[in-house]
């Protein structure tokens, strides 16, 4: 494997009319690494991931995949380059079964037209196997996705992206709507995905979640990169302060007698 990062952006600028959403952001993620993208609301996290996943095109700046410059025109291009994004709203259909969701849009078929039909036996096996591999027993692949917990649904979405050949996973606030137990399920899974050699970009505004699985942290504020830190370099409190952009939170935290 080459030494170049899986994804690297340098001085990315993205403007919408007179609004400057990104004003010179740089970051990179390597194979087997979890990069946490931290920032408060309005810091430019969403714009950045939409740029990485091919929804937006950067106004200026460099975008390298495997060391080569790219210009995605659609999310499809990004997917073909191995960059998969798991959005908060999941792209899962609650009324459909786990298997049907897992293979939605990429169903395995067998037989010759007009008798071509879904290869359910294979789909069922793959779904069970992939879910087992991440430690979630989808008890019954026929069951509707709506019956899974929020954490399990996130894991199905991630497993699907991994199975279909993602090299880089972009996770948009995967834990923000989850309870404690479910969050740990997702964090554990992020850890597994990393150990399989994928690059993970984990977007969150929860520093604690970031610190559990992150290898490096890139902090965004008002459309700029404030800096990138290795896990060994920085403590949770410092990250929190950087992210909130200053003292106010520290003072508030002091007043409340703990970390916010």
């Amino acid at each position: 494997m080459s030494d170049a990062p899986l994804i690297e952006v340098r001085d990315i600028v993205k403007t919408f009319g007179s609004v400057i959403a990104l004003n010179g952001v740089s970051m990179s993620v390597r194979s087997g690494e979890v990069l946490c993208l931290l920032g408060d609301n309005g810091a430019g996290k969403s714009t950045l991931i939409k740029t990485l996943s091919g929804v937006y095109r950067p106004t200026s700046g460099e975008f390298l995949v495997d060391g080569k410059p790219v210009a995605f025109r659609s999310p499809r291009d990004a997917l073909d380059a191995g960059i998969a994004t798991v959005y908060q709203d999941l792209a899962m259909i609650p009324l459909m079964s786990v298997t049907r969701n897992f293979f939605m849009g990429r169903e395995p078929v067998r037989g010759i037209w007009p008798f071509r039909r879904l290869d359910f036996a294979r789909a069922q096996d793959v779904t069970r196997e992939e879910m087992m591999r991440i430690g979630i027993d989808v008890r019954d692949p026929h069951q509707a996705v709506g019956t899974l917990s929020g954490g399990e649904r996130q894991c199905v979405a991630i497993a699907r992206a991994v199975y279909f050949g993602a090299q880089v996973l972009i996770l948009d606030e995967p834990t923000s709507a989850l309870g404690v137990a479910q969050t740990s399920v997702v964090l554990k899974y992020i850890h597994i995905v990393r150990s399989r050699g994928l690059g993970v970009i984990f977007i969150t505004h929860n520093v604690r979640h970031a610190h559990v699985v992150g290898d490096r942290f890139t902090v965004l504020n008002r459309g700029r990169t404030l800096g990138t830190y290795d896990k060994s370099e920085i403590a949770i409190e410092e990250l929190q302060n950087l992210m909130a952009g200053g003292k106010e939170l520290a003072e508030l935290s002091g007043a409340l007698g703990g970390t916010v």
Binding site: M92, I93, L95, M96, R100, M104, E107, V109, L118
Partner: protein, 369 residues
């Protein structure tokens, strides 16, 4: 499927899904229960002749024509859309077929193809408008309900010189294999043979009392089976469920939502043309009022069959059963001493019950609270 289930150790947290729970997951359960109820009712109150072979055919014949529409409507509803124009489309397609045969004197096969192509094209127009304007299909197809009905009236008056009925189409179509697919009875030799061997009732002359199966019933059964197979076992079926379940999520996952929905609109229009062809070929005439209110009856049958009004859930077999319930109640009351106008009350009640039942099932399936 079952082999893997036994290979992989069972999760102890999973209660083995009881037969009842598994049955509850099937969308057509409500329709099945409804059918059992209706059969029970008529078993008690109706004349015994309703449950003879002849009686069953009498009940199934109207169910078949409605059923073809209902199965198509069910697929479209699962895909997340409505089509209120199918009733009027029956009249319009009948007009096109009738004029092609009796006025333009085209060969039957040409007239048939022309009718199907026109219907498909109009269905595609419906679909394209709905998809590109993002208006609710309910309102777009309501507009076409009136447009098609008006066109049928105007067109028939033009073709006949002032009448809203066009006769003599059967003669113009002629006989042969192809017209035979859409008219008359099937399996006549089989029924004669069964009568000869005393397996079914016969007249003193030896002719069976029931001469065969109306072809419309065969189309109905065949179409329902095909639709079920497509829905449950093919990629297209998965796309229909996905498009209706959450169009955005489906699109993000690479499902071609717009083509799927357009194809479904075309399918409902063509199924209306099929019903029109069956009616025209069996009566030899067409009428501008054909198919009136069939759009509602088809939706009712689909809902009784377990389709959710919000899309993404339902079954073709359910719509099949829904149409049979419809046929049984509409015809069956004449076999009882009840006033047959109770039919509409019964139907409305059935619909209300089905909707309540469906929303309960939906919560069960999705785990929503």
């Amino acid at each position: 499927m079952s082999t893997t289930a036994t290979v992989i150790a069972r999760d102890e947290r999973l209660r083995r899904a009881s037969f009842l729970v598994r049955a509850m997951r099937r969308p057509e359960l409500g329709a099945l229960a409804g059918l059992a109820l209706v059969i029970l009712f008529f078993g008690i109150y109706a004349d015994k002749s309703m449950f003879t072979l002849g009686g069953v055919m009498t009940v199934l014949a109207p169910a078949a024509e409605l059923g073809i529409l209902a199965v198509a409507a069910a697929l479209l509803m699962i895909g997340g859309e409505f089509d209120l124009s199918i009733g009027s489309m029956v009249a319009l397609a009948g007009l096109i077929l009738g004029v092609s045969l009796a006025v333009l004197h085209l060969p039957f096969v040409v007239a048939l193809l022309l009718t199907a192509v026109c219907a498909a094209a109009l269905g595609a127009v419906n679909g394209t408008i709905v998809i590109h304007t993002r208006l609710p299909s309910f309102i777009v197809t309501l507009a076409f309900l009136f447009i098609y009905r008006g066109l049928s009236l105007v067109g028939l008056k033009w073709a006949t010189g002032g009448s809203t009925q066009l006769r003599g189409i059967g003669d113009a179509a002629g006989g042969g294999f192809l017209p035979g697919l859409f008219s008359g009875l099937a399996f006549h030799p089989l029924f004669t043979w069964m009568a000869a061997h005393d397996m079914i009732q016969k007249f003193p002359s030896g002719e069976p009392t029931v001469q065969g199966v109306p072809v419309s019933i065969l189309w109905f059964v065949g179409f329902a089976l095909l639709a079920t197979w497509v829905l449950l076992a093919t990629r297209a079926g998965n796309w229909i469920f996905a498009a209706g379940g959450d169009a955005n999520a489906a699109r993000n996952s690479g499902v071609p939502v717009a083509p799927v929905k357009t194809a479904l609109f075309m399918l409902t229009a063509v199924s209306a043309a099929l019903v029109a062809t069956l009616q025209v070929m069996n009566t030899g005439s067409t009428d501008a009022l054909r198919g009136e209110q069939k759009e509602f009856e088809a939706v009712i049958a689909a809902v009784i069959g377990g389709c959710l009004l919000t899309g993404g859930y339902g079954s073709a077999i359910g719509a099949f059963l829904g149409a049979i319930i419809f046929g049984m109640v509409s015809i069956g009351l004449t076999y009882t001493h009840f006033d047959s106008d109770w039919f509409k009350v019964f139907l409305g009640g059935m619909l209300l019950l089905a909707v309540l039942f469906n929303s309960f099932i939906r919560r069960k399936v999705t785990g929503e609270r």
